[in-house]
């Protein structure tokens, strides 16, 4: 069993598991941090941005998979754990010869589609006049200014995919529900479990009859909107692959939400605007819910909230229809019937308005001071670029970063000098190390496998021993482009016996509760299933002699000696010997058993756990006599 690690990013994993002749890709996250090396794509011609010294290239985004490690066309299935971890899907399904199936839950697929659609839309609506790729040549790259010249493996950076590719990729997804068991080629069974992190987010169980691998990726124990995490089903795993922990282990989401609200209120009360660069789904639902509760108490009822994204409408509506994927509280609302998320009420009362882009209706409705939620969190494309340009000059305004995926300082770099206030409130609800340690105690996997970043404290806080995974035995770590041999051997395989063959067995009870029978059969293996079938009958027809089957049906068996079982109680054996006229018997204990010495006969009987030897000097008669005495104590079948 091997694990091919294609991504070094712990929260955007991409691993391939080879398990029992199947090749399973676990997630395909897209690391977009390389976009920070590019200038923002403005919606409106920005004299400032276009005058910045730079390279006139817009080569799209990056994809950091190390594809040489494994031939991706051999991947049988791809398991997706949440919508953030599927953003590289089109690159794999459309360009590698992939012919397998992708498994994901419905919300994962639908919201994943929204995220991809938004991404494509953001990139395509500002088409580039030209593109350049020669700079990727190592000799030229070396001459580029830092940090470009230090960027690794720029040759793997790719253009953004198209909507056509997205659609084609998504068409390969087969939808699954929590706890649904999916057979892969009869060899293994995969099952998604609720992971509590996002709508439809899953952990996966990959198991055969005797082995169980759990894949935990992006899980949360906090009570937010999704269904709670299913921990119990992760128990008894041989291997637990652990990825997608919180990226900001020192920031408690509750505290950060408080910080978010306070800074928002402070800015707006002061007459300033608040910009929240965010993804169109996920934490934004929780933020809107918090604000719903907070705005009245903070006297912000008259402040408009704008949500601008090409997929804003779909995202807000989708969240309301996936009731079965929501936490219990929200599910019960549906039966009242009420919308599960309060943002419906915000929309109804006109406090929250959403627009596909800042062109069109938005420009006529726009009122300040206001709060704007829009993408992209990297500040390199999307409507957020415009708002940064628009509001960056006033110290009354504030940009609040809530997504933890990008360094906010790097994201802000092209906008400097900046007068607007910048607040960093990363909200990452994924497991922190305390929760992980509780989880591991609870589910007790035999082995834990995780990215190497989790096995030591963060470099900036090397004394924080609490910020790493602490388990026994120590977790096995992997880094990008490594192949791990998972630390357990498969020892058993399940074999079926055909009914007629099973019928023919004559079990013999060798001790209470344990019966044995000998089987002679043909092992038939097909589609990873092993079946014992009755051996082929000899050519000549036989009939009505079932009871003598042993001699008739299986002619080869005639040469087989009966099998023996049982043990020889030494004292009784000695008594029996004495009864049969042997005298002068001496018993010696050895490390493995006993030696019975018949001194008169110059004979030695060695009794061990799994063998008995009679050593006598060429006296075959005596040997046979003794052998028969030994056999009296054993069972034959």
């Amino acid at each position: 069993m091997k694990l091919y690690c294609l991504s070094g990013h712990p929260t955007l994993p991409c691993n391939v598991l080879k398990f029992k002749s199947t090749t399973i890709m676990l997630d395909c996250g897209l690391d977009m941090t390389s976009t920070l090396n590019f200038l923002p794509l403005p919606l409106v011609q920005s004299p400032r941005l276009s005058n910045l010294p730079g390279w006139s290239l817009k080569d799209g985004n990056a994809f950091l998979d190390k594809t040489e490690l494994i031939d991706l066309s051999t991947v049988d299935v791809i398991l997706i754990s949440n919508y953030h971890c599927m953003m590289a899907l089109p690159y794999i399904t459309e360009h590698t010869g992939f012919t397998g199936t992708v498994y994901a839950t419905e919300p994962t697929m639908q919201i994943g589609r929204l995220l991809m659609e938004e991404l494509v839309n953001f990139i395509e609506r500002v088409p580039k006049a030209q593109s350049a790729s020669l700079w990727k040549n190592k000799d030229i790259q070396r001459l580029l200014p830092s940090p470009l010249k230090d960027a690794v493996e720029v040759s793997t950076w790719r253009r953004c995919y198209t909507m056509q590719e997205v659609n084609s990729a998504l068409s390969k997804i087969q939808l699954v529900g929590y706890s649904q068991k999916i057979e892969l080629f009869g060899a293994v069974q995969v099952t998604p479990l609720s992971s509590g992190y996002a709508l439809g987010s899953s952990n996966w169980i990959i198991q055969s009859h005797y082995e169980k691998v759990s894949y935990v990726s992006g899980s949360s124990l906090l009570t937010t909107h999704p269904q709670p995490m299913d921990q119990a089903s992760l128990k008894n795993s041989d291997v637990l692959i652990l990825t997608g922990l919180t990226q900001i282990p020192t920031a408690n989401p509750d505290g950060m939400v408080g910080e978010f609200c306070s800074n928002l209120a402070l800015t707006v009360r002061n007459g300033g605007n608040v910009l929240v660069p965010c993804y169109p789904s996920g934490v934004i639902y929780d933020l809107l819910e918090c604000l719903y509760q907070y705005i009245d108490s903070a006297g912000l009822s008259n402040i408009p909230f704008y949500f601008i994204s090409p997929v804003a409408n779909s995202s807000l509506e989708f969240s309301q229809i996936f009731a079965e994927w929501l936490c219990h509280n929200k599910q019960t609302k549906v039966y009242l019937p009420e919308p599960p998320f309060p943002h419906a009420e915000l929309i109804q009362t006109n406090k929250l308005k959403h627009y596909p882009s800042l062109h069109g209706d938005f420009s006529s409705d726009f009122r300040q001071p206001c709060v704007v939620f829009t993408g992209h969190p990297s500040l390199r494309f999307g409507d957020v670029v415009h708002f940064m340009e628009l509001w960056g000059k006033s110290s009354l305004n504030t940009v609040i970063f809530t997504e933890p995926d990008f360094s906010y300082l790097e994201a802000l770099a092209p906008y400097q000098p900046l007068a607007m206030k910048c607040i960093y409130c990363p909200i990452d609800t994924r497991l922190n190390f305390i929760q992980v340690s509780k989880l591991l105690k609870e589910v007790q996997p035999l082995h834990v496998v995780c990215p190497e970043q989790y096995t030591q404290p963060p470099p900036a806080q090397s004394h924080r021993m609490d910020l790493m995974i602490d388990c026994q035995p120590p977790a096995m770590s992997y880094r990008r482009a490594e192949v791990l041999a998972l630390p357990f051997k498969r020892r058993y395989e399940k074999i079926e016996i055909m009914p007629e063959l099973a019928d023919a067995l004559v079990p013999m009870e060798i001790k209470p509760g344990i019966s044995l029978a000998t089987v002679s059969a043909v092992l038939h293996t097909k589609d990873n299933k092993h079946v014992l079938q009755p051996p082929p009958r000899p050519a000549q027809p036989t009939g009505g002699k079932k009871r003598k089957r042993a001699s008739d049906d299986i002619p080869d068996c005639k040469v087989l000696k009966p099998l023996l079982s049982g043990s020889i109680p030494v004292e009784q054996f000695v008594q029996t010997l004495e009864k049969h006229g042997f005298s002068d018997i001496k018993v010696e204990d050895t490390a493995k058993g006993h030696i019975v010495l018949l001194q008169e006969a110059e004979t030695l009987i060695q009794i061990e756990e799994d063998s008995t030897h009679i050593i006598c000097d060429n006296d075959e008669m005596l040997r046979v006599r003794l052998r028969d005495l030994v056999l009296k104590f054993l069972q034959k079948f």
Binding site: T250, E259, R269, S297
Partner: protein
């Protein structure tokens, strides 16, 4: 004892002695016992027993073999103890052999009743009460009670076991009080027999291999050293300390927590200070060592503190570590203000330790050793330690510290105030500690202003406060406002503070918080607005952003709250602010004081909250004092000389009071259904009457205006019908009504609590008899 009770007593004793009459409610027995305690404390127990022979009969009855309820038996044992606390009564009971038979082997001790914990508890408490005099000591020795107490220390009932330990401490103390000549010697033979026996037992227990026995002995010692500081305790410690030290050397240390408690308690007696103080400081020394590399840098305890081994022993698990640190901090906090605190007091080290502790909890410390990293992992995010350390840090502000440490203190406080992870309670403590440190920051001579360092800190603090006032958590907004009120009260008059505050958003936010959805926050905002307004720090209505808006003055804002707020807290707060404003002659009030007072009193009189009405009377009193020219608390720096005598006739002086309808308010309050309001009003009117009686001229006293209609109206008010107003009152009428009213009588009636009848011993006895049907008619009060 009054005759009525004496009459009821025999019947009650008979009921108690009758096993067929079960006492359903044992709180009655407790009340009865309390009553006997009161009687015996006031007079002679012997006389009581002689006058009421039924009591001795009841006690004798307990000796007969019968099926008595364990409650009554326990009660009787305790009652006997109460009587026998007086030596003559003890002798009296001794003569009748009552005491040995009740408390000795022959008593319940050997019987079936002993299985009931309440009986064992009664036995201990009885002895605890009677052990007051030398005769009792002899008795205890003779009847073998001490051995029984030893065995009860391990009783299955925790209450009994704990009481047994307490009793041992008490007996030890009592027997050592006897030989008062000089400090006792270390020689065993010189100690009184009873004390010797107990100390021997303790020694034996400390040598025992069984942890429960060691724990018992340690608990007895902890209580002894905690409560008694007599010289003999020092001798006792010298005698026992080798054994205690022996326990520390064992691995693992048995009964570690009890041992720490003991070491903490011996820190109190002065003579043991240095020795015990070192033990007390050890956990903090560990903390300090966790982040310093230089050996001996702690200045507290050198040697092993901070070693992995020491840390592991002292602070092994999270629970133990947190518990020990919190206890240590609490003890040090108590020690700090004491004059006999250990000297030299390691102020700098303690300050350093408190700061380090707070940093460890926050994850901002940089541990230099494995032990430190271990501590860091244990303490991270621990709210209990954070609270205790912030309290302690606040207390340390009374002393000084090296400047660089003070800088660190402010830095760590700011870190806590800033951190989004600080819980609301921690934040509140951080605000309190901050205020105390700002108070103690060095002052420039002759100037009350903040020193430059504090001012720098303030500049960083205000944006944090601003953000906290916008917190989604109401507790945080509330404590932020309280902090603001304190700061403004202290430095509101100082130029630099005013400048910094006015440059921030804080005053505007405070004004907005008057409309907070949470009533506690509104109340705090009212208090803060009151304080800001007093110092002229409120947002000016004329500021450009409010042009055209409906910005109201603080006075009208608060009046609006007083008349419309649905919750009591903000209204009470508004009344407090108004009273303060009137007292301080606030600019908005001075303009038209009468209109202000009239308005406030009118709103307050209709308030449903009695505290608001009571505060209205407080405001009325201030106005009254100001009107009649007698400042409530004469200010030593007042420029105007105190008014010598009213220059105007009294009636004229009272005119303003009539105009603001103060009397109508006070009279209405006099018949208020809430007693405190009525009492306060009564006091106010009595004050006024005394004032007017001393200054009224004979002519004025002779005028007898027609007061009949007013008195009639007041009678109706008293009867509960307050619909009819009094109308305009003339000063002469008021004076006449005041003179004719029996205010003293009213005050007397109000002083008695409403249940004074039900609480009387007579009522108790009647109730007890009534429940068993002895009294013909059931006169029990239903309350």
């Amino acid at each position: 004892m009054d005759p009525e009770c004496s009459q009821l007593l025999p019947a009650l004793c008979a009921v108690l002695a009758d096993p067929r009459q079960p006492m359903a409610d044992d709180t009655c027995l407790e009340k009865l016992l309390d009553w006997f305690k009161t009687i015996t404390e006031a007079g002679s127990s012997l006389l009581l027993l002689q006058e009421n022979p039924c009591l001795v009969e009841l006690l004798c009855h307990m000796l007969k073999p019968q099926d008595l309820s364990s409650r009554v038996l326990s009660f009787s044992l305790r009652l006997t103890g109460v009587f026998a606390a007086q030596e003559d009564c003890f002798q009296y009971l001794q003569q009748g052999e009552l005491l040995p038979r009740l408390f000795g082997e022959a008593g319940p001790l050997g019987g079936a009743a002993w299985t009931a914990p309440t009986v064992r508890s009664g036995w201990i408490q009885g002895l605890r009460s009677l052990a007051r005099h030398p005769s009792a000591l002899h008795f205890l020795a003779d009847c073998g009670a001490v051995d029984t107490i030893f065995s009860l220390q391990g009783d299955s009932s925790l209450f009994v076991a704990s009481a047994a330990g307490q009793l041992l401490v008490h007996i030890l103390g009592l027997s050592m009080q006897g030989p008062a000549d000089g400090p006792p010697s270390l020689q065993a033979g010189d100690w009184p027999a009873c004390a010797q026996k107990i100390v021997d037992h303790i020694e034996e227990s400390l040598r025992s291999a069984a942890t429960p026995q060691i724990t018992q002995a340690l608990n007895v010692l902890t209580t002894t050293f905690g409560h008694c500081h007599d010289p003999w305790t020092r001798v006792l410690w010298v005698r026992l300390s080798p054994l205690v030290a022996g326990l520390l050397e064992k691995d693992p240390v048995p009964a570690a927590h009890s041992l720490v408690d003991l070491l903490l308690s011996v820190a109190r007696p002065q003579a043991l200070r240095a020795q015990a103080f070192a033990v007390l400081l050890q956990p903090l020394a560990c903390v300090l060592k966790a982040t310093t590399q230089a050996p001996g840098a702690s200045g507290m305890v050198d040697g092993t503190a901070g070693d992995s081994v020491t840390v592991d022993t002292l602070l092994p698990s999270k629970a133990a570590c947190v518990g020990l640190l919190c206890r240590t901090l609490a003890h040090l906090e108590l020690l700090l203000p004491l004059p006999q605190r250990p000297c030299p007091w390691p102020q700098a080290s303690l300050l350093g330790a408190a700061v380090t502790l707070l940093q460890l909890c926050q994850g901002s410390a940089s541990p230099t050793s494995d032990a430190g990293r271990h501590l860091c992992a244990l303490l991270l995010g621990c709210v209990r330690v954070q609270r205790a350390a912030l309290d302690f840090l606040g207390t340390l502000s009374q002393g000084t510290g090296p400047p660089e440490l003070v800088t660190e203190v402010f830095a760590v406080l700011l870190e806590y105030l800033r951190s989004p992870d600080s819980s609301p309670t921690v934040l509140k403590k951080a605000f309190q500690a901050t205020f105390r440190w700002l108070l103690s920051s060095p002052k420039t001579p002759g100037c009350w202003d903040l020193d430059p360092q504090a001012l720098l800190f303030l500049r960083e603090l205000l944006p944090v406060l601003q953000k906290r006032l916008c917190s989604p958590c109401w507790e945080v907004r509330d404590s932020g406002l309280e902090f603001l009120t304190q700061m403004t009260g202290r430095w509101g008059g100082q130029a630099s503070f005013r400048h910094a505050l006015l440059a921030s958003e804080v005053p505007k936010l405070t004004e907005q918080l008057l409309r907070d959805p949470e009533s506690y926050v509104r109340a705090s905002a009212v208090a803060a607005t009151g304080q800001l307004s007093s110092q002229g720090l409120c947002v000016s209505p004329a500021s450009p952003e409010h042009l055209g808006g409906q910005q109201k003055s603080p006075l009208s804002e608060l009046l609006h709250i007083l008349s419309t707020d649905s919750e009591g807290f903000p209204r009470r707060a508004a009344m407090h602010v108004f009273t303060q404003w009137l007292r301080d002659s606030h600019a908005d009030v001075v303009g038209d004081t009468e209109e202000f007072v009239a308005g406030v009193l009118q709103v307050a009189s209709q308030d449903l909250d009695w505290e608001v009405r009571a505060q209205g009377l407080e405001l009325a009193l201030v106005f009254l004092e100001q009107t009649l020219g007698q400042p409530g608390s004469p200010c030593p720096y007042a420029v105007t000389p105190p008014v010598v005598a009213p220059a105007r006739p009294l009636a004229q002086a009272l005119q303003p009071l009539c105009r603001v309808r103060l009397f109508e308010f006070a009279f209405r309050a006099l018949f208020d259904c809430d007693r405190p309001v009525a009492q306060k009003s009564c006091d106010l009117l009595l004050f006024l009457r005394a004032k007017t009686a001393s200054s009224s001229s004979p002519q004025e006293a002779r005028i007898s205006p027609d007061v009949a209609s007013v008195e009639a109206a007041l009678q109706r008010w008293q009867a509960g019908d307050q619909a009819q107003p009094l109308g305009d009152l003339e000063p002469e009428v008021v004076l006449a009504v005041l003179r004719s009213m029996d205010l003293e009588g009213l005050r007397g009636a109000l002083a008695e609590s409403s249940d004074h009848v039900e609480k009387s011993p007579q009522s108790l006895l009647q109730d007890m008899l009534a429940t068993v049907g002895i009294l013909g008619e059931n006169e029990a009060d239903c309350y």
